[in-house]
Symmetry: C2
Subunit: 723 residues, 2 copies
């Protein structure tokens, strides 16, 4: 009967095999002429150099952290030093997920450019297959890693005849949580480091190239252009790969922690609520693989967005249907968690709620960031009165865009909890994340297309090639935005699940924000996303200034660049971005990791709970605000490419309103690609850290006031009125 247990890592393995086949297919494609290959070589080399430098730092970090974890595992009985191994494996696989993505992306980019010389259909095939390699690879690694590790820990910790709700199983899953901590902490550094890298290069290249020297984007004469293209790979691909690997694992794990608490009289010895999230993920992976084959266009005029939508929708619908049968097969009719009773149908409804919430979040994000819709148009109109009104417009739209997602999220939390309690909230998140492979394939396709366009421009290929890659790139911008909406929704639900798991482990009865210290914790938690964003944004600003100065220097000191007679020193710009991003990722990363530890060990679990709630709510809001404002600014700028009508007059590129829109886009860059997407890792990581330290702080009491009540006043004088 434990066939399910073995099937899970097997599905992961199948995913990796498919990855290998698809990857080989991409490699077999024509990589174009020597000039293109040379440029692609520069990009691949730069990306690899960054990853290596990053790994050196993260390796040290992982080693130290694992030693600390292992040591802390020996301190109390509820813990175990094996968590260190779990952590290292999670960190390693997370880095590997980024590597796979980066490797395929730097091969698929130039092959997409070459394919775009033939047809749009062919270019989509190559770029989307590249994205799929990453998506399926990441999901496969996660399922194989989690599923395999679970079998090992299950056999090691849980003796024959133990209960699924027992202390042994609890310990097995707590040790497994180290895997998630490893994955998520690497994800944070990868996202922040990659985000700073890509935006420093982008902003720096634009400020000197486009604005000062008046040369187009991706011009081969711009010394920062290679760094800019490397950035797409290390930020939008490797960073995002590690990010979604972490999210995926955290969501599954949080559901497993809660599943372990469920008293379930099923045919699998009570294991089924623990296995269900992994099974759902496995089904999602299978149907994501199936759905990748639906993503095709035939003619030049076919809609790329439509093709991607078909892939996306079929993976979601197939997974939803399959999960119904999985739920019915695995779960018993009735279960109980923390005295709350629910049925298998309730669990399925919660999964559907998760899928609906994720879909609605994507739709709203698209509305707020897509060209031609009210929000982006309003920013375009405000560009007519200058830089300042463009910025005010974008900030206003970004803030407005938090309203609907929050209502949906709140309804999702309420609804999934209404049906299946805390397990419902967690499984809703797991349902939402089930099709991560497809989501990530669609997401990763964007930067590949972006890079392909860059190579086409730098190689001075014919207009029609650039036109095709631009078509793909525009769709990529939308998918990038919707992917972020999806990520933040899943992060919020996952955090709540982790939060619930944390409460379970510490054994506190409630997190009462009415208590002053807990409220103080809520305030401090709410502030963290602000300081984190401030650091990330300022880092981009600083790194971009370094880049600007270097580019100016090269223009000045190397004669002949402008006349294509001398090659700029690309590698110096790459080195600047690499150095700056690695230097600047330390502080925000340290805040995210250390604050929960400091708060927890100083003020105890209840204040830490308040802190987590603060960071989650504030982080979700800041994440939505920043991502959407950035996306809307970007597309407001893009709207000028085809010309826009402001107060009855047409404006195009290089007009004054267009310049104002470029300002908005530049401000939005670190918002949408550095600090905004880091928010979801920040909130999950804090929750995971809290969960890991929970057994150590569970006995601490909240220090509320200087003394316990002891006095009773017996006789009280009545009030006297004014005579």
């Amino acid at each position: 009967m434990n066939i399910v247990l073995i099937l899970i890592p097997l599905i992961g393995l199948i995913g990796l095999i498919v990855t290998a086949f698809k990857s080989a297919w991409v490699n077999r494609q024509d990589a174009g002429d020597p000039k293109m290959q040379e440029l692609a070589g520069f990009i691949a080399k730069g990306a690899m150099a960054f990853l290596k430098a990053e790994w050196r730092i993260l390796g040290v970090f992982a080693l130290i952290t694992s030693i600390l974890l292992g040591w802390s595992g020996t301190l109390i009985e509820e813990s175990n030093p094996i968590i260190a191994i779990s952590f290292l494996l999670g960190a390693f696989l997370s880095a590997l997920a980024g590597y796979i993505g980066m490797k395929i992306a730097t091969r698929a980019n130039v092959r997409t450019t070459q394919a775009a010389r033939t047809s749009l259909a062919k270019a989509l095939d190559v770029s989307f297959t590249g994205g799929s390699v990453m998506g399926i690879g990441v999901a496969g690694l996660a399922i194989l890693g989690l599923g395999g590790l679970f079998i090992v820990f299950f056999k090691y910790f849980v003796p024959e005849g133990a209960l699924a709700t027992g202390i042994e199983m609890k310990k097995a899953i707590e040790v497994l949580a180290g895997f998630s901590l490893g994955a998520e902490s690497i994800a944070l550094f990868a996202r922040v480091g990659g985000g700073i890298y890509t935006k420093a290069a982008d902003v720096g290249a634009d400020l000197v190239g486009k604005v000062e020297a008046g040369i187009p984007e991706d011009d081969v004469r711009n010394p920062a252009t290679i760094a800019d293209n490397v950035g797409d790979n290390v930020g939008d691909v490797a960073g995002m790969g590690a990010d979604l690997f972490g999210s995926y694992v955290a969501t599954i794990l949080a559901t497993m922690v809660l599943g372990q608490e469920i008293v379930s009289n099923d045919n699998f010895g009570g294991l089924s609520p623990i296995l269900l999230p992994m099974v759902t993920a496995g089904l999602g992976l299978i149907f994501s693989i199936v759905a990748t084959f639906f993503v095709h266009i035939k003619k030049e005029t076919d809609s790329v967005q439509h093709a991607l939508n078909i892939g996306n929708w079929s993976s979601i619908i197939l997974t939803a249907i399959a999960s119904y049968f999985a739920v019915m097969y695995l779960l018993p009719e009735k279960m109980v968690i923390r005295e709350f009773e629910f049925t298998s149908l309730d669990v399925f409804i919660a999964i559907v709620i998760g899928l609906v919430v994720g879909t609605l979040m994507s739709i709203i994000t698209e509305y707020y960031t897509a060209m031609g819709k009210r929000p982006v148009n309003s920013i375009v109109q405000k560009s007519g009165t200058g830089h300042a009104t463009n910025i005010i417009g974008g900030l206003s739209i970004g803030m407005e865009s938090t309203a609907l997602p929050i209502f949906i999220l709140a309804a999702g939390i309420f609804g999934s909890h209404y049906f299946a309690g805390l397990y419902g909230v967690a499984i809703a998140a797991a349902g939402m994340m089930a099709t991560t492979a497809m989501q990530l394939a669609i997401d990763a396709f964007g930067p590949i297309a972006d890079n392909a366009g860059g190579i086409a421009e730098m190689s001075q290929l014919p207009e029609e090639v650039r036109h095709r890659t631009d078509n793909l790139d525009a769709v990529g911008n939308t998918t990038a935005a919707t992917g972020k909406g999806f990520a933040i929704a899943s992060a919020a639900l996952t955090s709540l699940a982790l939060f619930a798991a944390f409460v379970g482990v510490t054994g506190i009865a409630a997190i009462d924000i009415f208590k002053a210290p807990v409220l103080a914790g809520l305030f401090v938690g709410g502030m963290i996303p602000y300081i984190f964003s401030s650091l990330a944004i300022a880092a981009v600003g600083r790194a971009a200034m370094d880049m600007v100065n270097e580019v100016r220097r090269q223009f000045h000191e190397i004669p002949g660049i402008m006349e294509y007679k001398a090659q700029p020193e690309y590698e110096k710009c790459v080195a600047i971005s690499t150095r700056a991003s690695l230097r600047e990722m330390i502080a925000p990363g340290a805040i995210a990791l250390l604050m929960p530890v400091i708060i927890g060990f100083t003020f105890g679990p209840e204040v830490l709970g308040g802190f987590l709630a603060g960071i989650t709510v504030s982080g979700v809001l800041m994440g939505i605000f920043q991502s959407n404002a950035g996306g809307a600014w970007d597309n407001a700028k893009k709207s000028f490419e085809k010309g826009v009508d402001i107060n009855g007059k047409m404006y195009y590129k290089k007009s004054e309103p267009h310049k104002a829109s470029v300002t908005g886009d530049t401000v939005g860059d670190p918002f949408k690609d550095t600090s905004g997407p880091s928010m979801n890792i920040l909130i999950k990581l804090s929750s995971i850290v809290a969960l890991i330290i929970a057994p150590h702080i569970s006995t601490m009491k909240t220090m509320e006031a200087k003394k316990e009540p002891k006095m009773k006043i017996e006789k009280v004088t009545p009030v006297a009125h004014i005579k």
Copy 2:
């Protein structure tokens, strides 16, 4: 013995008498030549027109709300229809506070200009006395209103021989809460309406005047210049007056509500914890009056800031000393609130904590917004690379600036609670707000000086006059920023006190954010400041566009404006700002008032508690972020007036970096003068609304999940291992 009860409104009355004397003194000053008087007349007329139009709308609102309140007061036994009268009186006095400020400001402005023709010392005398009229008047009205009404309700509701902790006294104070609701809701509309007015006119005047037509600020040829100066009066004076009146009342009231719960065996029949906040406010008023006489300079080279600081510090220190004796005289040695015991010394310590928190908040705000310090300098440097980096720099500084204030606030909450429980938190806020009269005098002095400078410029007075008013105006910018830091800190503590009062009235045991619906409430609450800010900022953008179009039309259609041959139609611009601001204040105001009602009646008190916590934390963060970013941008722009060194090169006004800094300042305008300062009203108003509806929703249960636990699984199968 109930002499204290009578003394309180008497102090208020004394304040009003001082106000009358000071006001008469201002009126006796020379109002300058006919040209100056004509311009001042335009400003006064415009401001009055706005207030009248605003009152028409607010009158209808107040009438409808009071009817609803009166009706709801008849529904349940815990409530009473008299709350309607209480509400109307609060609303009326709040409007009156704004009126007094506006009236004196529009008289003091031109007289300050005239005084500036003689000396800086004289100009400071006139402008600061104008500010004092407002400050002392507002505080006097509040103390007289609250103190008088308390006596009335005390006599009406509380029979001889009742206990201070009894149900009758509880009811008296609950009815008194209507006064605070009235004050705070008028404050919200006045702040938002005035804020939109002033910034629409300011941004509109700058965009066409400074940027397009190239004429200086406050140029008489600019049709929007009168509207701009009117804006200073209706936004920064009338709006702020109503705002601080509301804050002051809310803080005192919240402390009274908690004081009523205290079992205190004092010599005043247990009344002393209820009276203490009013007494502290009275002492603060007296010593503020005393300290206004310390604000003087002798020579032209004396520091205006220093003179104001002496006034501020002496009022704070004198009040702190006096409150020690008041606490010792009024309170018994030991008291108990909600089973928590504390001493009179503990209460005094809490008051000191409040004063320290307020002072530290002001100092930090000054650091983040003052010229020559690291934050503003960093924005200046970033202006060197353009508009976008200036904006990124300001946003980053604004976000960073939340960190220290939040730590201080958290420490303040923790500390004041540690010593004197919830009453400690409330009395800390009351201590902080005690010197409101002085704070407001210093605050209101700024816009008067600003206006005086405008009149000097428009009347083309000699350089030295403008130089003197600029000196005052620069100090005014700093005091405006520190005043905001102070306001947000007091709002946070007040909200917590109201929050505690709300919990007491509803009788819920805890607000457990671990419950899914409560967490959903926290999310929705956290979002409100975003949508509120979005509406306010967008409103400024829209109204500014109207203004831009009108100014363009006048330049185009009225020949001779530029050559001083024709007078622009100032009144049309005034009308545009008036109409726009009144139209746009409705939506944000409605959200603030209705959301707590909807949440409370739909989901019950505990979810409403989560909502309140969310709005408080998010509102405090957004308030600090926006106010400080706006202040820093403003002074980064001002730094160019004396010239700044960027990368070894000097830049002055009209340089490219200066233009970038103007963009930042324009973005910051609605941040720091419209949405930012509204945040503290928003959070207090929500808490007061919750407190008012608390008796009506106290019996509602939190709907947590679809069914109560009923099933117990008896036999659980152990897990089976893989064979």
